[in-house]
Assembly symmetry: C2
Homo-oligomer: 345 residues x 2
């Protein structure tokens, strides 16, 4: 059996010297290297941007959507949409584990898992498309895929539906990082607190900050604020537009007696909220940008422009045990689980 | 005397609710608020991108360059190039200090300072342009400017030329952050080590990592590598292209026995070096992105894609005492000072 690279570079066909994600084409031969996992794939959860693009290109015709999905995988060895650059994730059963991994991982043949690395780097073969569910961007298939040694995954829990688990796993990094960052007594500000990742972060922040801490939820929409109020997830709720830095500064100052937040977690999905995050955080405080709409230069130059000595962290979608922490969040908070079931299942 | 906002929002004319930097027009009346500093401006150091744009628009004609500079300041109340969005910095003498700041800052009237916040947020009036120096992007003027309470500055040192001091102050954040991050025994990788900020970071990294630490310089050019070698600033020098993640991974692995770097500091001025930084850093290590060419999403999705639990920090151009630390770097290392004098003066 051939020995593979931890990051899967042994499967890159072109261009050579790149990693599987940026590569144009990877080898999707379904014979594993010694450090790979073979997965019997049941469902592809196509990234929303990618699925929308394929659907539009196909004029909504299901047969044409199927043909385009097969064509992409045929051409690139992975489901990596060449227009949007994005992939998605997959659900399947472990079929074979490379000998170099045995005893090192907590998986056995037959386990049902979701891969938490992008389809845009995952070797995939589709034997048959069984069903396309355009309303939830899912495709049921007969197929196989390879997970590299560095690839991350989560065992699907038995106590919640697959759809609910996937909704949480999709944003697993945010609550897990919150859980690791927040210390007892901290004043924590969550921006975009009423959304999927924001609600999970609120729960973890409140738990970790404890009775001596203070959790402030900042949310734009009426429904979001009402949701947070009903779930009793924050000590203070501020309704404000996070692109208005001055308004945020004043409102956060008011509820913290001018002390501002020790830790700010940005979960907003719109651009131009960097400055509000910076002004709302105290000197030598910490800002964790989970939002993919964050601009690196806006954050870097923004902090310098106001002379703010803050540590600004690029949200890493992965941290150890992130899937377990995220799923546990719903188990710890049945009311939150109920809201998630209503909103995302 | 009127009371001002720490961040200068009291001077924003339009649009209201923004900060001075993103504002289109600010009030450049040279009558100070209680928390402002009035500066007698001698020199504008126009941002390189901005100066190049103005020079091209003016067809290289010095009189037209002068006219365009005056026009921008007249229109916006600050030297904020509407095409490039960038500003620059200024040098001048302290003329008046607002009463609310007296005793709180280490400045007195007559001190010669460089402002370390962008001209794109600094209220400015130009009374006369004395000389344009297109080869070093400098403009000598008679004029006045306002520094806000949150505005950062550095007193110009008496033991080095203004040009040398400015060359260092321009990248002051990098060596200062390196000095604060690196601990004895750390393995530190500097990517883009042969450039201006890279060399300053190498010196600080070597000093802080101490005899039990290891400093690795990664540099693309022959001249850069030779410079590092002659200055004896690194324990290991790797000549490589930082956009080739696999090559960087292999070479850093080779000099660290597969342990990889505890801390990676990215000082490269080209895009697509995020993945090399991530792969070169050990699990639970730290990456500090000083490069303005860093892509937030490439870093965030890149780390997730390879399942790397690293802390990635957005380089903040400001940290406490950054100017002093940066200038001190040259005093501590006369050979490095000599190289800086040759290259940047």
């Amino acid at each position: 059996m051939k020995k593979g690279c931890k990051y899967g570079t042994h499967r890159v066909i072109e261009p050579k010297g790149t990693l599987p994600q940026p590569a144009w084409k990877i080898d999707n031969t379904m014979e594993i290297y010694d450090n790979e996992i073979l997965i019997d794939v049941k469902t592809l959860n196509i990234d929303s941007a990618s699925f929308t693009q394929i659907k539009e290109e196909a004029g909504g015709d299901i047969e044409k959507i199927k043909a385009r999905i097969l064509e992409i995988v045929e051409e690139r060895g992975k489901h990596h949409n060449p227009v949007t650059g994005s992939g998605g994730m997959l659900v399947g059963e472990v079929k074979e584990i490379g000998p170099a991994l045995q005893g090192k991982i907590d998986l056995k043949v037959g386990d049902k898992i979701a891969t938490l690395v992008s389809l845009s780097l995952t070797p995939l073969k589709i034997y048959e498309i069984l069903e396309v569910k355009p309303e939830i961007d899912q495709v049921h298939i007969k197929g196989e895929a390879i997970l590299f040694e560095s690839g991350i995954y989560a065992k699907l829990p038995e106590d919640m539906s697959e759809t609910l688990a996937l909704a949480v796993l999709d944003v697993a990094g945010a609550p897990a990082q919150t859980c690791k960052l927040v210390k007892p007594g901290n004043t924590v500000l969550i921006i975009g607190a009423g959304g999927k990742s924001g609600l999970l972060c609120l729960h973890q922040a409140k738990k970790m900050a404890g009775v001596t801490g203070k959790v402030i939820a900042l949310e734009y929409s009426d429904e979001g604020c009402e949701r947070i109020r009903k779930l009793n997830l924050a000590d203070e709720i501020i309704q404000a537009d996070a692109t208005n830095a001055v308004e945020v500064l004043e409102k956060v100052s008011a509820v913290t007696d001018g002390k501002m937040a020790d830790i700010t977690i940005n979960c907003v999905n719109i651009p131009k909220t960097e400055m509000a995050s910076i002004l709302a955080t105290r000197d030598e405080g910490l800002i964790y940008f989970f939002s993919m709409a964050t601009s690196f230069t806006a954050a870097a130059l923004g902090a310098e422009g106001v002379g703010k000595d803050v540590t600004m962290i690029i949200g890493n979608g992965y941290t150890k045990n992130h899937a377990e922490i995220a799923l546990e969040t719903l188990r710890e908070n049945p009311a939150l689980r109920e809201v998630f079931t209503q909103l995302y299942v």
